[in-house]
Amino acid sequence: MGNNDVLRKRVDELAARVNGKVEEMIDTLVLTVQGAYITETLTAAKNFADVPCDFLHDIAGVDKVTHIEVVYQMTSLRGPQKLRVKAIVDREKPVIDSVTRIWAGANFMEREAYDMFGIQFTGHPNLKRIYMWDDFEGFPLRKDYVTEPVEVRNTMRVRRDDE
């Protein structure tokens, strides 16, 4: 049985456990789950027998207007297996568990997702803005964000003392 078949089997088993949906998109398995299951899903994916997806590439947010998706890209340094996990969260109150306990490197990626989409990661050690300044209002990559007019953007911001 090839690497991909083993991975497919493991992901199917996992999907049955966490009530998820599996599809294949351009040679990558995509597992869609509800946000509440994310810690369980990613812990299991990291510890897959034979095909562990133990390297977290990236965390991204996607605004789908009806809901927000948090996308986790995973792979392994020891094999060709790739896995993408999408977690669905509510758009008005986007709250999801932080995965910094599983991968410490998720720290900055989650801060970026918070900065751009306002997704609250519970259990994150230092959840504040990373690209925009601290007193910036709104989440710029959301579909309903209205860019400030050019007159406002052209005025120089005054830095706070503690920055």
Binding site: Y131, T147, V150, N154, T155, M156, R157
Partner: protein, 173 residues
Amino acid sequence: MDVAKEKELREAEALMEKNVLLTSIDKLLNWGRGHSFWPVTFGLACCAIEMMAAGGPRVDISRFGYEVFRASPRHADVMIVAGTCTRKMAPLLRMIYDQMPEPKWVIAMGSCASAGGPFADSYSMLTGVDKIVPVDVYIPGCPPRPESLVYGLLQLQHKVNHPDKVRLLKHGK
């Protein structure tokens, strides 16, 4: 302060200082300044690569005396803003400019520094550094070739050497 107003005041002040004795010395000083700009590197994006290339052996700006790139604004008299200046960077850019000793000039290199470039409508962008500091020379291009930077510096040299000519071009007789 309003940047356009600041630029005007700066020029008026330079004009006020001139009297018969100082004009000749000024000519000599300006000749020296124009032939040995010490740029403070303000590389913010891809334009910085072209600025480095301009310092390299192929397009060698030390031929003109501009190769002394300084990391400290206190040693420099030209600020080459090379790249995309975001709103988060703007207060820092102004701080660097304020730390430079007089007389000082600013070159906006590339379309981002001149007018915001392709990011002009973005949430994080300033439409040109001339909203923050008074700019003397704008260099178009995305990014401009090193030759353009050399040309821009030579235009600035011309401006420094012939303040009367620049005034005439700008305000008429």
